[in-house]
């Protein structure tokens, strides 16, 4: 598939820098970026609660979440875990 892509100034600058760093072609870089995004989305879609468990049990840390999952999922897990743990503490303290 051939595609025409429109880049803003910042992305263009980053792409140029990446081309020098990785010493590869624009097409290969874009394919790699899409593949990385795809894997992150797939992981989050199919294993969201598994990652919640890993983070809840301190098996993985915040940095790993951001590496493995899309940003919004990593943030949701971090915020949700803190909120859920606090909520359980309140109920346990009250009962």
């Amino acid at each position: 598939m051939k595609a025409t892509i429109v880049l803003d100034k910042n992305t263009e600058k980053e792409l140029k820098e990446l081309l020098e760093l990785e010493k590869t072609s624009k097409s290969k870089l874009i394919r790699k970026a899409v593949n990385d995004l795809y894997l992150k989305e797939k992981r989050a879609k199919e294993n969201f609660l598994f990652f919640v468990d890993l983070y809840r049990n301190n098996v993985i840390d915040k940095d790993s979440l951001f590496i493995l999952l899309p940003r919004k999922d990593a943030e949701a897990i971090i915020i949700g875990t803190k909120t859920g743990k606090e909520a359980a503490e309140i109920v346990k303290a009250g009962s």
Partner: protein, 163 residues
């Protein structure tokens, strides 16, 4: 009777899962502020006969406006102030934006939140429902809360409670 201040997000979630009819079996008096009533009236009048409405006035209303001015939704803001006025430890709320705001703003951290899973825990203990995960999944799906702060928070709550 123990009291609970509940936001519309949670009430709508319970209604979608057909659990709202059990609210009067929780042993709690469910209280909502005026702004939550307005939200409910727009979408679901059936919830209103299960809750007590307690409008904010005077200083409480001013405090709530302050929270609104820093970006908190009107319903959530009034729930927080009402809970504080009634000396309650927490509010019940499943608003994604509010969960995020609370996490990012240190001043809001003292406001404690529980979610719909708080009711699922009660329903299980009172033998109203049998399978907590069936209803958890049902609510998450019906409300489009997949992969959100709300799903993670309620899941962690239930796991921490031993489910």
């Amino acid at each position: 009777m123990l009291r609970l201040v509940v936001d519309s997000s949670t009430l709508f979630a319970l209604e979608r899962a057909d659990l709202i009819k059990f609210l009067n079996k929780t042993g709690y008096e469910i209280i909502i502020p005026g702004s939550v009533k307005e939200e409910i009236v727009k979408d679901s009048k059936g919830i209103l006969n299960k809750v007590k409405i307690e409008p904010l006035r005077g200083k409480s209303l001013k405090k709530s406006k302050f929270l609104e001015n820093i970006g908190i939704g009107k319903g959530e803001a009034q729930c927080c102030i009402l809970a504080n006025k009634l000396k309650l430890d927490f509010i019940i709320c499943d608003d994604r934006k509010f969960l995020r705001q609370r996490y990012l703003n240190k001043d809001l951290e003292k406001i404690k939140i529980n979610g719909f899973a708080f009711f699922l825990d009660i329903f299980i203990k009172k033998k109203i429902i049998k399978d907590v995960w069936e209803y958890f999944n049902k609510i998450i799906k019906l409300t489009n809360w997949e992969r959100s702060e709300v799903e993670a928070a309620n899941y962690v709550f239930l796991k921490e409670m031993g489910y």
